[in-house]
């Protein structure tokens, strides 16, 4: 396990995510309900509660996690959090930090044309919203 020294940068990052997600993430007590409710957790490198923990610590490494992109914003965690926190908003805030650098997580132009024509608009539009900057 790596040693974490909390710096002003970490605090700034926590503050930023708190603001973007409109949450007080420090309220999370790491009960794990979100991770238990998440239908995508099996595909995540870190669990939703780990995401919350990393943000609490202002750990910027959370931005490199696959988990924030696997989240499908299904709000299963949202309705169950005993602290009334919205983990889906935290995940979105983290995605936005990345996308707002004008980066794309999914390059839609590189999706093969036969795939594009087979998908309903609703899928493409939401993927654009969630994965392109």
């Amino acid at each position: 396990m790596k040693k974490l020294v909390i710096t002003s940068e970490n605090i700034k990052f926590l503050k930023k995510i708190n603001e973007l997600a409109d949450q007080d993430i420090t309220l999370c007590e790491q009960c794990g309900t979100c991770s238990g409710s998440c239908p995508m957790v099996a595909d995540m490198d870190i669990t939703p509660s780990q995401i919350m923990r990393m943000v609490q610590l202002g750990d910027l490494d959370v931005l490199n996690s696959k988990a924030i992109w696997v989240c499908a914003s299904c709000y299963s965690c949202t309705v169950r959090c005993p602290r009334n926190l919205d983990v889906s908003k935290v995940a979105e805030a983290l995605r936005q930090v990345y996308l707002r650098k004008a980066l794309d997580y999914v390059e839609i132009k590189k999706i093969p044309k036969y795939e594009l024509v087979s998908l309903p608009q609703i899928a493409i539009v939401s993927a654009c919203r969630k994965f392109t900057g």
């Binding site: 603001e19 973007l20 997600a21 409109d22 239908p39 995508m40 595909d43 696997v70 499908a72 914003s73 299904c74 709000y75 299963s76 949202t78 309705v79 919205d86 889906s88 908003k89 979105e92 805030a93 936005q96 999914v106 999706i111 795939e115 087979s118 998908l119 309903p120 608009q121 609703i122 899928a123 493409i124 539009v125 939401s126 993927a127 919203r129 969630k130 994965f131």
Partner: protein, 298 residues
């Protein structure tokens, strides 16, 4: 009664059968769905970050269209807009709630859209199931000339009509609205423990294998409980559960394909409406053999 109707993009293409069947059953119930003029894509997903207003412009712009329809006397229901698609419903309703609760946001959005009339935040967004419940499932039962006898159906709710709580139309942990409706129509309703587990949504674009796996769980559990078909009211759930059965079959060769209905398609069958209103040709897994077997269609 005339009510403003927001279709959403997919209902004009791959989910046209959802729209056609919904319009037909609504007409049967005395409701005329009047499509919004110049509606735009709602964005499909509600923007979750606090500072991001631009993505609420589309939902609000559509609600301004509803406001205009009311002003022009085009509709009789003077405060609501009807949606079918769960995602449109969720996005429109949440954006609406946000500007209702936050006048500062509303003002900023109105400023940004200076070429539109200001939105007054008086409209309400509803989903078709809510409207049907309001009309009364007993009324639907009375219309069901062709009850769905012996049809074992497992309703699938997905996420967007249940969560988060402030937009949900039913109990997020144990929804029954589809069950009540289908029972009224004479179907044998099967409870599926996966009825409110996410289908993977837009991950279908970049991670279709995962979505196929989720679909396999949802469909498989329904089958285990004895279901012969699934109902939904979301074109993306429908795509993931229906069309992705192709991928499911690839990974699980002994998987038995099963039809996925828009709830409105089954209502139209129960009402004994014209075949043309069903739009079964757009379903990936053909539901006709099942319905024929049950004597529900010819």
């Amino acid at each position: 009664m005339k009510i403003a109707y927001y279709p959403g993009c997919t209902l004009k293409t791959t989910a046209k059968n959802f729209e056609t069947s919904a319009i037909a059953i609504a007409r049967e119930l005395g409701i005329e769905m009047v499509e919004l003029p110049r509606w735009t894509c709602c964005g499909t997903v509600f923007s979750l970050t606090a500072d991001d207003l631009i993505h609420h412009v589309a939902p609000i712009r559509n609600l301004i269209r509803v406001q205009e329809m009311i002003e022009n006397g085009q509709i009789e229901d003077e405060k609501r807009v009807l949606t079918l698609c769960s995602m449109c419903f969720n996005t429109l309703k949440r954006s609406n709630l946000r500007v209702k609760e936050n006048t500062e946001d509303l003002k900023k959005i109105n400023d940004l859209m200076y070429r539109e009339k200001d939105y007054r935040a008086e409209i309400e967004v509803i989903q078709l199931l809510e409207l049907l419940k309001e009309i009364g499932f007993d009324k639907l039962k009375a219309k069901a000339k062709n009850p769905l006898k012996n049809l074992r159906v497992a309703p699938y709710y997905g996420c967007m009509i249940l969560r988060p709580i402030e937009v949900g139309i039913d109990d997020p942990e144990d929804p029954t609205i589809q069950k009540d409706l289908l029972e009224a129509l004479g179907a044998e309703v099967i409870d599926n423990p996966y009825k409110k587990v996410c289908c993977g949504s837009y991950q279908t674009v970049n991670n279709k294998e995962k979505v196929a796996e989720l679909a396999y769980n949802i469909l498989g559990h329904a089958q285990q409980e004895g279901a012969e078909a699934i109902t939904t009211c979301c074109p993306l759930c429908a795509f993931n559960l229906d069309t992705r059965q192709k991928e499911v079959l690839k990974n699980h060769p002994d998987f038995q394909q099963m039809p996925v209905f828009y709830i409105t398609q089954l209502i139209a069958v129960a009402f004994g409406l014209d075949n043309k209103t069903f739009g079964f040709n757009q379903n990936y897994v053909d539901p006709k053999p099942l319905l024929k077997k049950k004597g529900l269609i010819k």
